[in-house]
């Protein structure tokens, strides 16, 4: 097999296809790495500086009412993970800042995509884009005539007669092509890892990088096997090229976009106004529409009076306003959890719908795997939002507790000492550990694609052997 590998490399080098493919790869990956690397470190520098400035502003606000401070509260800024350089995923289309204010679970704001011009989202330069979109085309250009070309030049029977079976010839060509792209992928990954060292580290980075590399190796292998299968079966190199280009157009260009649109229609996300209205309705009237905020307040009042064994709120040794605010937060948390869970379920339903399009293209499974490994998928965004919401509840809870304990008789006129602001915990976010179980479906899908491609290749080889022997 090694002579076939060498022969293939020599042929592809001589007709300049390997140098051309590598030049395209180096240029696109190089530009991606430099620009993405610069952007990542700039974003991180700005985030850290803004976070520090905001903390200083927060700590230096002087004596204030804790509830007033709970309205100002803090912002949670999402860090840019080291692995994000491998695949920006949805990170530019999701907010990176959450206002952790009282009474509300705000959506994340500050989406990077809003601050640039719209030039068509099918071509956003990045390492993942190069490997998902451009590399299959390069595989195709390098391999479409791998077998058909030998047949047209009438060298295929010579190879077979020379002692190499057709299967071995094809295996040699597959190894030759795979080695070229696998080598380039490993170099890309090493350089990207070095370039990403200036941003927030990820604890399970080796595992993530391994899954990322594994996914792309499988994807490249699928394309190489498909290309060789078509090249073996097609009557001419020309026909093989047409079939393969059609496959690429559908599988890489059209189906993923169509799948995303169909999923967005199939599990439609309610409009922001509808989500807000539904939350406000539940907050005002309760989940069943019969436990209004006024009723809840009266019930709380009765409960607190009984607990402290007094007959009026003036006699309470604590601030009823603080207790009421805390109770309001507790109820609001239930409302927010219900609505945000429903929204997250919609996002996940869309992912399931998109996965069904994975029957038509391996790219969808790869995209899910790649963004999960890079920490830039919707699940990671939900984890960030969850961490911000936990932090919001902690901050607002601490401020409400201080008000309850110290504002008896003064309520909103009470001014807490500035030392209280120093005790408010600073938001820190660590990316969740890679949930391989979530990616199992996508790993299995890529594996299935590889098996299907190999089966197709086996069928093509069987047909070609029949033709050769007749």
């Amino acid at each position: 097999m090694i002579p076939i590998v060498r022969l293939t490399w020599r042929q592809l080098w001589r007709d300049r296809r390997i140098p051309l493919a590598l030049a395209v790869l180096v240029a696109l990956v190089g530009v991606s790495l430099v620009l993405d690397g610069l952007r990542s470190s700039r974003t991180e520098r700005d985030r850290v500086a803004a976070d520090l400035a905001d903390q200083q502003t927060f700590n230096a606000q002087g004596p204030r009412n804790p509830h007033s401070v709970a309205h100002l509260s803090r912002f949670a800024f999402r860090p840019r993970l080291q692995t994000a350089l491998l695949d920006p995923g949805v990170s530019d289309y999701t907010g990176a800042a959450v206002w952790m204010e009282a009474h509300k679970q705000d959506p994340a704001t500050a989406r990077a995509a809003e601050d640039r011009l719209e030039l068509g989202r099918a071509s956003e330069l990045g390492i993942a884009w190069v490997w998902q979109v451009v590399v299959p085309l390069l595989v195709l250009v390098l391999g479409f005539d791998a077998i058909g070309g030998e047949r047209e030049r009438r060298t295929l029977p010579l190879l077979v007669v020379g002692g190499a079976s057709l299967a071995r010839v094809i295996a040699g060509k597959a190894v030759a092509l795979f080695a070229v792209f696998a080598g380039a992928l490993v170099v890309t990954t090493i350089v990207a890892s070095l370039a990403g060292s200036s941003v927030t580290p990820v604890p399970d980075r080796p595992l993530r990088v391994a899954m990322w590399v594994g996914g792309y190796l499988a994807y490249i292998a699928v394309w190489i096997v498909l290309v060789l299968a078509v090249s073996t079966r097609a009557r001419s190199s020309r026909t093989a090229l047409i079939v393969l280009l059609g496959t690429w157009t559908l599988g890489v260009l059209a189906v993923p976009r169509l799948a995303a649109t169909m999923a967005d229609e199939g599990a439609a996300i309610p409009s922001p106004a509808a989500i807000r209205e539904a939350m406000e309705r539940d907050l005002e009237h309760g989940f069943d529409g019969h436990a209004g905020s006024e009723d809840r307040r009266k019930a709380l009042e009765a409960r607190v009076l009984a607990q402290y064994q007094v007959t009026s709120l003036d006699q309470l040794p604590v601030s009823f306003a603080g207790i009421a605010l805390d109770e309001g937060e507790r109820f609001a948390a239930e409302v927010f959890d219900r609505h945000h869970r429903a929204l997250a379920d919609r996002y996940r339903a869309q992912r399931t719908l998109r996965r069904s399009a994975g029957l038509v293209t391996p790219l969808i499974a790869l995209q899910h795997l790649s963004t999960a490994a890079a920490g830039t998928d919707v699940e990671h965004q939900l984890a960030f939002l969850g961490a911000a919401e936990t932090s919001r509840r902690t901050i607002v809870g601490l401020l409400n507790a201080d008000m309850t304990a110290h504002a008896a008789g003064k309520d909103f006129e009470y001014q807490a000492a500035p030392s209280l602001w120093q005790t408010i915990p600073v938001f820190t976010y660590a990316a969740p550990r890679l949930a391989i179980r979530d990616s199992a479906v996508d790993l299995a899908a890529l594996g299935a694609w590889l098996l299907a491609a190999l089966a197709l290749l086996g069928w093509s080889v069987w047909h070609a052997n029949q033709e050769l022997s007749s």
């Binding site: 002087g62 989406r111 068509g120 976009r257 229609e265 106004a273 996002y347």
Partner: protein, 460 residues
């Protein structure tokens, strides 16, 4: 002309026998159908959202008027809120552009500032946003050239491979006319589904007005120019005397370079050259301004009364201090944020200038920019809406602040004097002017390509 017609007829018959042609045209027809469906769905959801907001705006106005006499809280002008929404872009069904990304609705109150005006809109599916929508603009920009390549790569190379080109030369058949006939025969079946799709969108997507018709006519011209450009590329590459596989590879490499690589590089270079200021910095600055203004609230309220002779906060039916404070703080934060928002606008303006220069490097960029302008889903309309919304917010806040300081209460006259938000659509002339450059450039490039290709074809 007779020979062109004859060549076209002969080629049409050959096309009917070609499986590749049927497959390519089938893919185009299906893509157009799906894009039309998707575009109409997008349009309908936007119309529904804007309509819903308009109904709610009227309902909340009535509710405020009804509860004001009995409820002192509702009677306070500083407690009034209103909703604003941008109507669907004129040709939203054609090109989604950035319309799925930008805010479309907002809540306005006297306590709102520009930084919090649009705060609840980022719930759309991130995956759908990152991938982009399957609309007719996508079909025109990305799929159409590939279909043209699939139908056209064998324009001359097949004859060359079979040796028929010499036979044609012996018979004195003019190659230019032959190619013209063939291109004509292959161009028509491509344009038909596209025109049908555009017609469906025109009739089903919105009101049948002259303005929409003008936008659609310009769209047809742009799409036809784009198709002509790619036919020019196909004919030019066909004259390189490559085999059909070589021609196909050359065309695909050209497509990748012009449609994928160049726009990707231009996009990356644009944001690298003119990055927008940090949103994190903007947020931190707004919050510092908020805290600073809150600390100086009494001074600011006094200053406001001083700047508005005739208003006397002490004489008013005293709005609560926190409400007055929130009102003056919002004004102050707006003033503090203004230079930062200007910096964002400058960055976006600089990006626009770079893209305006580089759009000539790729027909895909020209088509994307032109279609976005015609559809009204580009940054120009989004920025117009944002500016109008901010101006409306400032007007509402000032009016309600003054009413609050004079002790006025909410009533029909007070609210009636406040017109609801109405988006002023950029004029057709401005839109056509924005689309004229990509449109003209597309046709100039297409014309040059066709002429160059024609000059490379021997007369016989």
């Amino acid at each position: 002309m007779t020979s062109i017609r004859a060549a076209a007829r002969w080629d049409a018959r050959a096309l009917r026998r070609s499986r590749v042609s049927w497959l390519a045209l089938g893919i185009l027809a299906v893509a157009v159908g799906l894009a039309v469906w998707s575009g109409l769905r997008f349009r309908a959801s936007w119309d529904q959202e804007a309509g819903h907001e308009a109904v709610l705006e009227r309902f909340e106005r009535m509710q405020q008027l009804a509860s004001a006499p009995a409820d002192p809280w509702s009677a306070m002008p500083l407690m009034t809120t209103t909703r604003i929404a941008v109507p669907a872009a004129p040709l939203a069904e054609l090109a989604t552009g950035r319309a799925d990304l930008d805010p479309r609705t907002a809540n306005v109150s006297p306590f709102t500032h520009a930084g919090t005006l649009f705060r609840d809109y980022q719930t759309a599916s991130p995956s759908a946003l990152a991938t982009g929508r399957f609309d007719l603009a996508f079909v025109i920009v990305y799929v159409l050239p590939l279909v043209i390549i699939a139908l056209g790569f064998g324009l001359l190379s097949e004859e060359r491979e079979r040796g028929i080109d010499r036979l044609l030369a012996v018979h004195g058949i003019q190659l230019r006319r032959l190619v013209a006939g063939r291109v004509l025969a292959r161009f028509v079946p491509i344009l038909l589904p596209l025109l049908a799709g555009l017609a469906v969108l025109f009739f089903a997507g919105g009101d049948l007005t002259a303005v929409r018709a003008a936008r659609y006519l310009a769209t047809v011209a742009l799409a036809a120019g784009h198709a002509t450009f790619w036919w020019g590329v196909v004919v030019l590459v066909s004259t390189w005397r490559l085999g059909s596989s070589g021609t196909l590879v050359a065309l695909v490499v050209t497509w990748v370079a012009l449609v994928l690589a160049v726009p990707a590089l231009v996009g990356a270079a644009t944001t690298a050259l003119h990055p927008a200021p940090s949103r994190f910095t903007l947020i931190a600055a707004a919050r510092a301004a908020d805290i600073g203004a809150t600390a100086r609230a009494a001074e600011l309220i006094g200053g406001y009364a001083h700047d508005h002779p005739g208003l006397d906060p002490k004489a008013a039916t005293a709005p609560p201090t926190w409400a007055l404070r929130a009102f003056v703080v919002a004004r102050e934060v707006d003033a503090a944020q203004a230079p930062l928002f200007d910096a964002f606008d400058r960055a976006l303006g600089a990006q626009q200038a770079v893209v305006a220069g580089f759009q000539f490097t790729s027909p895909a960029l020209l088509a994307t920019r032109g279609l976005g302008a015609l559809a009204g889903t580009n940054e120009a309309r989004a920025l117009a809406y944002r500016d109008q919304a901010r101006a409306f917010l400032a007007g509402w806040r000032e009016a309600m602040g003054k009413h609050a300081m004079t002790g006025a209460t909410v009533n029909a006259d007070l609210l009636g004097a406040m017109a609801p938000f109405a988006f002023a659509e950029p004029s057709l002339a401005a839109v056509l002017a924005a689309a004229a450059v990509p449109l003209a450039a597309m046709w100039v490039f297409a014309g040059v390509l066709v002429l160059v290709a024609r000059s490379r074809l021997p007369r016989t």
